[in-house]
């Protein structure tokens, strides 16, 4: 599956395309299929995202999991500061980053 991610223009927060909006939680990201680049361009032009790009991911039990470690770290926060991590929507979710 292919996800769209980028940063919020004003805050810099990592955000994920949900199909209709943007979320801080990768668990809410949807497969953008072949439309990823077009959606990214449209959303960036509308100032709803900064620097969007399309990544590969695999479906997981709690939602999509980015394939590359860099995007997994983007999704969760620095591995060395769990106190600053993006808290998962499901409190029982394990650590799938590394």
């Amino acid at each position: 599956m292919r996800l769209i991610t980028g940063n919020d223009l004003a805050t810099g927060d990592v955000i994920w395309w949900t199909g209709s909006d943007w979320s801080r939680h990768v668990a809410q990201a949807v497969d953008a299929g072949k439309d990823g680049e077009a959606i990214a361009a449209r959303e960036e032009a509308a100032l709803r995202v900064n620097g969007p790009y399309v990544i590969d991911a695999t479906p997981g039990p709690l939602g999509p999991v980015p394939l590359h470690i860099k995007d997994r770290i983007r999704a969760s926060g620095p591995t060395v500061r769990p106190d600053l991590a993006v808290q998962p929507l499901d409190a029982k979710a394990g650590n799938w980053v590394i």
Binding site: N7, L9, A10, T11, G12, D13, V14, E44, L47, N50, G51, L67, H68, I69, K70, I73, R74, G77, P78, T79, V80, R81, L84
Partner: protein, 543 residues
């Protein structure tokens, strides 16, 4: 400490106002990211993995309590309660909001600070010896000259769009505490046979993907002419530096390709012209600046004796404290490397505490080191115990300066958009693997970790260097030995195939045990490695 004059303040204030307008235009959509990016970078604002990152300049690593407190205040009010001290003696905030940035810069301007030229292809923050002005072994305090260079290089119209970034270091001592020869230009204060003050000039050093130790370009340039000479050095680079390939655009590549002799000859020719232009400041201006760096009033009659009866205090003294040039006083290095901690990180409360200690015990002066520690340069020996107690209570009492635990590490893949692998977890595991007693037994060992080939963690200059790479989507770590950023500067050599994260920790341990088995009296790890070569280490690691 240098104090802004009306021109400095007006320039910085104007830059804040200009950037505020640029941010507003970006947020409104009047400016695209492609248009905005070079403007934000000129103001030290990056977009990293998780958020915007603001890099604040700390000129030549010197600041006072008021400035340190402002950094703590920004960490608390606009970031997530901490800051990261960098290998360029700067401070980075990792969680900045774009909309807040103009207000942050405005607050910095109120304490004579900014983020100008902490990014971009320009002359970056001038770095220096963290013991400047306090060290017994220096010819003269290098900071007045570093300040002159700050003024010369700030908004220099000819050098604002260089082929690549440009880093200058200035020192005044024989012991190189600033990695002088790994800079684009390194300036070392010396006296000539006539007793005149001037500089040895080294050019074309650097790290990154093509590490090089800078050759000596000029044995002596008088301090009265050095600005003109640097202008000539930069002009030749600006003219011939390669703009067609960013990986070959640093001055080290130019000097390597045309040769030091040719570069030197071209600089000399340019210098003959430049020095007719009157660029060097009048002596009165240098004296005005130098007066602001005068040694604070220290009592040379202060008692020199230190009560070492507390064993933990004694260990800290031996590791973190060196004599000041004025009797009865010491230079204290505060370790930002607790066991298992994040090298260079300090909480807002810790930053405030260091400001308190500077104001109370160090004549309101602090220094940031390129090894990501903090220095109190002027402490009475009689106050050392109180300083240690306060530091220890705040988690800043580690006694590991220049030992294995004093690891330089870049932010790596935990924060940096350019990184290929994480650096910090490795530093944490290594500092935990070797306890304090073991580190003392090993002795001086400079271990440096970079998360990518850009080498912000100075791995090339590590006695042991570790470089994180991406191998088919997995983190992998290359190990190198024999580097040094000191006066015996050298570039480390890769020892063999790379390792996993845990594998490289084990490999470091095997290398150190090999050293312990081979070392002769007084030898550091680096000395033993240089004497016996890589083979015994290879044999142990890859057995």
């Amino acid at each position: 400490m240098y104090r802004y004059d009306e021109y400095d303040q007006a320039m910085v204030d104007a830059r804040v106002a200009e950037f505020r307008d640029q941010v507003e235009r970006r947020l409104s959509g009047a400016m695209s990211e492609d248009q905005f990016k070079p403007l934000r970078l000129m103001n030290g604002l990056y977009l990293q993995l998780h958020a915007y990152m603001l890099r604040v300049a700390i000129p030549y690593g010197t600041l006072d309590g008021r400035q340190m407190r402002m950094l703590a205040s920004i960490a608390r009010d606009y970031d997530r309660g901490y800051g990261h001290f960098t290998t360029r003696q700067n401070l980075q905030f990792n969680w900045i909001k774009l909309a807040d940035t103009p207000d942050i810069l405005a607050k910095l301007a109120t304490v004579e600070m900014h983020a100008i030229q902490t990014s971009g292809n320009c002359i970056r923050n001038i770095s220096s010896d963290q013991f400047a002005g306090a060290a017994a072994d220096e010819v003269a305090d290098p900071r007045p000259y570093a300040e002159l260079l700050r003024q010369w290089s700030t908004f220099h119209p000819e050098f604002s769009l260089l082929p690549r970034k440009f880093k200058i270091a200035v020192i005044g001592a024989d012991e190189d505490r600033a990695a002088l020869k790994l800079h684009d230009i390194g300036l070392k204060l010396v006296k000539n046979e006539a007793g005149e003050l001037g500089f040895e000039v080294y050019a074309g050093g650097g790290q990154g993907r093509t590490p090089m130790v800078a050759p000596l370009i000029r044995e002596f340039i008088a301090a009265t002419e050095f600005v003109s000479y640097l202008e000539a050095c930069l002009r030749v680079y600006n003219r011939y530096g390669r703009r067609d390939n960013m990986y070959k655009a640093r001055i080290k590549i130019l000097i390597h390709e045309i040769g030091a002799d040719e570069y030197r000859a071209q600089v000399e020719e340019e210098f003959q012209h430049v020095k007719t232009l009157g660029l060097d400041p009048p002596a009165a201006e240098l004296e005005r600046i130098a007066a602001m760096f005068a040694l604070p009033p220290l009592d040379a009659g202060a008692p020199a004796d230190i009560d070492r009866s507390d064993p933990d205090f004694a260990l800290w003294l031996d590791a973190q404290v060196v004599p000041h040039k004025v009797s009865g006083h010491s230079i204290v290095t505060i370790s930002l490397k607790p066991s298992g901690g994040i090298p260079g990180d300090a909480s807002a409360d810790q930053i405030d505490l260091m400001a308190d200690l500077a104001e109370r015990y160090s004549h309101d002066e602090l220094r940031i080191t390129h090894a990501q520690n903090v220095v109190l340069p002027h402490v009475r020996n009689a106050d050392l115990y109180a300083v240690w107690q306060a530091l220890d209570e705040a988690g800043l009492g580690a006694a590991n300066l220049d030992l294995l635990g004093d690891i330089i590490a870049c932010p790596g893949l935990d924060y940096c958009a350019l990184a290929n692998a994480r650096s910090i977890p490795l530093a944490q595991k290594l500092s935990e693997r070797f306890d304090a007693a073991r580190q003392r037994d090993i002795g001086e060992l400079k271990l440096k970790i970079s998360g990518c080939i850009n080498a912000c963690g100075h791995h090339h200059a590590g006695h042991i260097g570790i470089l994180g790479v991406d191998r088919k989507g997995e983190e992998n770590y290359q190990l190198s030995f024999g580097g040094s950023g000191a006066e015996d500067a050298s570039v480390g050599r890769i020892i063999g195939p790379g390792f996993s994260e845990d594998g490289v920790v084990d490999a470091v341990e095997k290398a150190i045990e090999t050293y312990r088995g081979l070392r002769e009296e007084g030898e550091r790890f680096l000395d033993t490695y240089r004497r016996v070569g890589p083979e015994p280490f290879k044999a142990a690691i890859y057995a």
